[in-house]
């Protein structure tokens, strides 16, 4: 069987699998944000960068090839990841101490895993709205990291295309496909896959913050490197 080598570990893979899929199947965690096994890989967050034969590539969009020598936790890679994460924190309004997603937030947990302690970039404090027009959900754009998981889930699984990303580069931001741009004007519902896919605290159920006590939140119970490998992705 074809295999790749991730650091010291030899991993078999099925043809067509990406590096991150092969690694995940073998229980090797490669930090990531926009990748989710249920959806087409996107390659946009740049957190899953690995070194293949000395070159940095995104593990979610690069197919595994027999004999590949891969490094996934080198100092250089962790440095790159840290910088990407720092940019995300500086670019949005991520206030972990008062965010109900704290302890269950992939961004927070990946940052911790990668050793990011504080963002050294200048915080931009963007003015972003909270859309609370929907009866059951809020959409807090302050925390959105443009991972497009909700976009993909709503379009590919729910068949609704409630969300989209508009604008480019630094101007890119999540929008709601409704005439007035409000979530309350769409048919978004609690059963939608998009309702439970957001890795941060942007799409959250209304009226129910902080119901899980500290110590029992998802990353309190099991660290991200054990959760986000094959069969455990939420």
């Amino acid at each position: 069987m074809a295999s790749i080598q991730i650091d010291d570990k030899s991993i078999d893979f099925q043809p067509g699998q990406s590096i991150i899929q092969a690694a995940s199947n073998a229980g090797v965690y490669i930090p990531h944000l926009c990748y989710h096994p249920e959806f087409t890989a996107h390659g946009s967050c740049r957190v899953c960068m690995v070194e293949v034969n000395g070159r940095q590539v995104s593990a979610c969009t690069t197919e595994a090839q027999d004999g590949m020598q891969i490094s996934h936790m080198s100092d250089d890679l962790q440095q790159t990841r840290k910088q990407v994460l720092e940019m995300l924190f500086a670019e949005g309004n991520h206030v972990c101490p008062s965010c109900e997603k704290s302890g269950a937030c992939t961004l927070q947990s990946v940052a911790e895993y990668c050793g990011m302690l504080t963002a050294e970039f200048t915080f931009q404090y963007p003015q972003r709205e909270i859309d609370a027009s929907h009866e059951d959900f809020i959409l807090d754009k302050n925390r959105c990291i443009n991972c497009e998981l909700c976009v993909r889930a709503s379009r590919d699984i729910d068949g609704k295309s409630v969300f989209a990303i508009a604008g480019r580069g630094g101007q890119a931001q999540l929008i709601v496909n409704a005439v007035d741009g409000q979530l309350g004007s769409t048919d978004f519902s609690v059963q939608d896959r998009a309702a439970s896919v957001c890795p941060v605290g942007s799409i959250l159920p209304k009226h129910y913050g902080f119901v899980t006590p500290i110590g029992q939140r998802s990353f309190d119970l099991k660290p991200i490197e054990q959760q986000q490998v094959s069969g455990h992705e939420g």
Binding site: P97, S98, E100, H207, V211, P213
Partner: protein, 474 residues
């Protein structure tokens, strides 16, 4: 008029200074404690979802965050249409609150005030601090540390973290107390009660040893304001509002805290960031009042735990007219409350409701929510309005220290009047002013003078605004 400025009495979290205003005859006409605190919280929670608020607003304070957490949660209960929590939720919140008051009072007494009381106000700054206490009274210092730690453990087991937890949510709580947690707390509770009792006895001895001096120090005569239980007993978590006049007559009693705006108003002075609340029916000049331990222990008719009740009876006997106005008796009352908290924690720990599974109730959404609680430093008001989407439209918070604003100024004025000799600012005077402010345990870090290093700078400014004398102490 000559203006004397003492600046800064500040450390990290707040900036404060004292200005003393004299007339031509060098008599103090006014004392002003300038404090800038809590700027902006009411503003920046605007537009946030209401259910985030109890976790968010507790960041107002690193010393008594649980009070803000619970006051906000009580307001959120109203927003979600709940007037009665489940027994488990109600008791868990009370337990959290007792833990919080215990740790906050213990911190204040043992770490911050005991150096003044044990060593005298004129003791060298280098020695008059918690390190000095550890050196000279190691057993007492240890008890202080462990009492505080115990309170923090109660908070951790009820709120999830020792500081800035998440236990209280709109309509209830998010966890009960496990049997393991209960047993862990029960293990030490008798020791905690006994140390609390020792602390009251210790303070009593110190106070009575030099009774006349302690009674006269920073003495003012004020109205007293607090929550009480329906039968008039001491209450920290929930109850009716009671105010008592300086001559011990009830001004009002058993008033619904949600109608606080009918009872008190806030007066604004251009020189202060902090407002001046007063009892409406008495007006600005006569309506200012004191809150916190002194007010609560004076205001209540009884305490529902036996050891603290015995201490209350003795405390009340201090004064012939039944109302104890001595500013330094704040410490005494505070320690009686420590004892009450310790006894109440023990009672609650034996209550099986704490292991209940019924944690949350929901009702019909309301537009306005008001929560009032007795924080360690006094009555705390949280008032919120939300829009139809559940986002905060308006918030009004009156914190404990604000309620004591005028009273602190009056006490400072009294001390300056007695101890300021003409135009000469002296170090003993600075010490006396520190001790005065600290008696109120105001929520500004200047009052904490961590490790005795509170820097004081005194400027003497003449009527034309020129500095004629500077005195500083590091």
């Amino acid at each position: 008029m000559t203006k004397i400025t003492i600046d800064p009495i500040s450390r990290v979290e707040g900036h404060g200074k004292i200005t003393l205003h004299q007339d031509e005859n060098q008599r103090i006409t006014q004392a002003r404690l300038h404090i800038s605190e809590f700027r902006g919280f009411e503003k920046f929670i605007q537009g946030r979802p209401y259910w985030e608020v109890p976790v968010m607003v507790q960041r107002l304070c690193g010393i008594c965050p649980v009070s803000h957490h619970l006051a906000a949660a009580k307001a959120m209960d109203r927003l979600v249409g709940v007037s009665q929590l489940t027994p488990t939720a109600e008791k868990m919140r009370k337990l959290m609150h007792f833990g919080q008051v215990l740790q906050s009072h213990a911190l204040h007494f043992f770490h911050l005030s005991s150096p003044d009381l044990l060593f005298g106000y004129d003791d060298e700054v280098r020695h008059r601090n918690i390190i000095g206490v550890i050196e000279d009274h190691p057993e007492l210092a240890k008890q202080g540390v462990l009492l505080r730690k115990y309170g923090q453990e109660v908070v951790r087991m009820t709120a999830g973290k020792r500081i800035h937890g998440t236990g209280a949510v709109p309509g209830g709580i998010n966890k009960h107390l496990s049997i393991t947690e209960r047993d862990e707390l029960l293990k030490d509770i008798d020791q905690i009660i006994s140390w609390s009792q020792n602390a009251v006895e210790l303070f009593k001895t110190i106070f009575l040893r030099n009774r006349e001096y302690h009674e006269q120090f920073a003495l003012i005569s004020s109205n007293m304001f607090s929550l009480v239980q329906a039968d008039g007993a001491l209450e920290l978590y929930d109850g009716g509002l009671r105010a008592r006049s300086a001559d011990n007559a009830l001004i009002f009693d058993q008033q619904n805290p949600e109608k606080y705006l009918d009872l008190i108003h806030e007066h604004v002075e251009s020189w202060s960031f902090m407002k001046f609340p007063f009892i409406r029916s008495l007006g600005v000049d006569k309506g200012w009042y004191r809150v916190g331990p002194l007010a609560r222990v004076n205001n209540c008719d009884s305490i529902d735990t036996p050891l603290a009740e015995q201490q209350r009876v003795e405390f009340k006997a201090l004064s012939a007219d039944g109302i104890v106005q001595y500013t330094l008796a704040y410490h005494w009352a505070r320690l009686i409350e420590v004892l009450h908290c310790a006894e109440s924690i023990k009672q609650l720990l034996h209550d099986p409701d704490l292991q209940g599974e019924d944690l949350l109730v929901k009702g019909d959404m309301q537009a306005v929510g008001i929560g009032v609680i007795e924080a360690p430093r006094g009555t705390l008001f949280h008032h919120y309005e939300i829009n139809e989407d559940g986002l905060i439209k308006k918030a009004n918070l009156i914190v404990s220290t604000t309620n004591n604003n005028q009273a602190m100024n009056e006490s400072i004025r009294q001390v300056a009047d007695v101890y300021l000799d003409g135009r000469e600012l002296t170090e003993p005077l600075l010490n006396q002013l520190e001790v005065t402010v600290r008696a109120y345990d105001p929520c500004l870090s200047c009052a904490t003078h961590a490790l005795g290093k509170m820097p004081l700078q005194v400027d003497l400014i003449d009527h034309q605004g020129h500095t004629t004398q500077s005195l500083s102490k590091a």
